[in-house]
Amino acid sequence: MIEGITIGIGAAFSGYNILMVMIGCFAGTIIGTLPGLGPMSAIALMIPITYGFDPASAMIMMAGVYYGAIFGGSTSSILINAPGVAGTVSSSFDGYPLARSGQAGKALAIAAYSSFAGGTIAAIFLLIAAPQLAKVSLSFQSADYFALMCVGLLAIAAFASKGQFLKAMIMTALGLALATVGQDSLSDITRFTFGNINLMDGISFVLLVMATFAMSEAFMIIFKKKSISFKASDASAKKLGSIKLTKQEVKEIAPVIGRSSILGFFVGVLPGAGATIASFLAWGFERTIAPVKERLNFGKGSIKGLAAPETANNAACTGSFVPLLTLGIPGSGTTAVMLGALLSFGVQPGPRLYVEQPEIFWAVIISMYIGNIVLLILNLPLIPYIARILAIPQKILVPLVLFFSVTGVYLISFNSFDIYFMAIVALISLVLRVIDYPMPPLILGFILGGMIEKNLRRALIINDGSYSFLWERPISLTLFIIMIIIILIQVYQGLIKKN
């Protein structure tokens, strides 16, 4: 192992690979900031560029793009409430209200520090425990994954819905239903396409995210005459506010960062879970354990509510490399794209990678430290410039947000149908948002729909169609109990409100 780390340090600290990390982080930040272009499309675009590179450099660059895009996504989440990536949706819950209250600089600084801390702490975990952690994820079976994802969905509905649990559950079901559109992954039977060939491959995730967040947000700005959601005219560079944190604020977020790093990393390690669940869970967890007075501030500009998802999503990004590198299983959609890239280089990720090509395995891990440092150095000085997006008048910003959203979707498919569909979804989302239907549960339901179905299928086939797996396996049982507790808490809170 020591020999492998030495080789990894040698490779990662070569001038060429440091340059690759820097280019990757910079490109990722810029692309991630643009609504609609998340890490998946950024990495996909990088694949042809990296064909001439050796596999280690290519992976290092892509890892940089990944981190950069996640941070860039946070920037657009915080500043314009338009997350380019699902993993940064929860950053907008508190980041956006902070920006609206004239503390955009502070919100971005918290995001930068939290991302750095989360990424770095998780990289230490990864370095120490990569092989052992792989064993933990190996012990998870389909039934456990199914239960874990159900917990994730319930937790989001419960914690991210601002007291609208029933509406959040309806949106979750709607997201799951939308995920079933297209060909069934196993049998290839088409479902709910109504004979439309454009729906055969299902609904694009980017389309749905852009429509429900970026485009509907742009519509919302216009929809509410004196926009409360978009005070672009007030948000000049002068109102950015300081990027410095007080001692008290650092003291407040430090334990949150510690907890969220651990949570984010372990959730990221589980294949299929990834940054989205990690960030939502971290936000929900911090909200749950916060004192009642502080809890009320969550969703309204709490610095803890911002630090938690920001830390967790970066920690989960690092964690998601564990199953990719050691098991050959992608931990997220983005690492799935990376898996494709590795295969195109003739590199087969899995346990043998650790033995046969340690330079790739360890160089990627070591480069994560470099990536986090580069991101911090790159992003902190740029915060005032990035935040100036807020100073753009809304009559300029709205068409630009619409343009980037439409282009982001169109560039994936080059299909006009996606633009029509996106506009319709955005209009429906706008109406739903006006009557307090939360969008994050819909997105999470949509993202997890396919994975939940796959794991439920396996679990049911193994158990001859019986749902007893939910209480027969210890891990599933624990998760099942957590689900019941979440529901009981909601019922209890509902009864208290009524009385």
Partner: protein, 154 residues
């Protein structure tokens, strides 16, 4: 029970999930899969049950409050929606550069920008820059008959 927007929306969702449930039953599965523990119908059917349950609960337990909706800019949003839709209609025939510029210029003007300089600088260089980035740096080809006809792109 008072009728309000939350209840109406819950009722719409109830109908929607009922239709979804019906359509789930209509999914044609392979003969050998009909009695399998899991087939293409199973998951949609489960989702429809969840959807129906929660829509029904929302219909019953929604608060008796009326949400004011009249003060909003419905017309402006609808015009922007039509504009996005029209953009989708012409993007293939007019090409990316022309259609995107038209979209941006009309949107800026409609939303109240009157400075020709500002409209120009916020549209043409932005679109040209993005197209250059995609074509020259990222090798992403976007079909553009106008730029092809005047020889700017091959």
């Amino acid at each position: 029970m008072r009728i309000n927007l939350s209840r109406i929306s819950a009722l719409i969702f109830l109908l929607l999930f009922s239709i979804y449930s019906y359509l789930s039953g209509e999914i044609k599965v392979f003969t050998f899969d009909v009695d399998a523990p899991f087939n293409a119908k199973t998951f949609p059917r489960l989702i429809s049950y969840i959807g129906i349950l929660f829509s029904f609960l929302a219909l019953i337990f929604s608060k008796n409050e009326d949400e004011p909706v009249s003060q909003y800019e419905w017309l402006k949003v609808f015009v922007l929606f039509v504009l996005v839709f029209s953009y989708g209609l012409i993007i293939k025939t007019a090409g990316f550069f022309l259609s995107t510029n038209l979209f941006l210029i009309i949107a800026y003007y409609y939303l109240g920008v009157r400075s020709i300089k500002l409209i120009f600088f916020c549209s043409v260089p932005v679109v040209a820059g993005l197209q250059f980035l995609l074509h020259e740096l990222l090798d992403v080809y976007i079909r553009d008959p106008l730029l092809q006809s005047i020889g700017i792109i091959s």
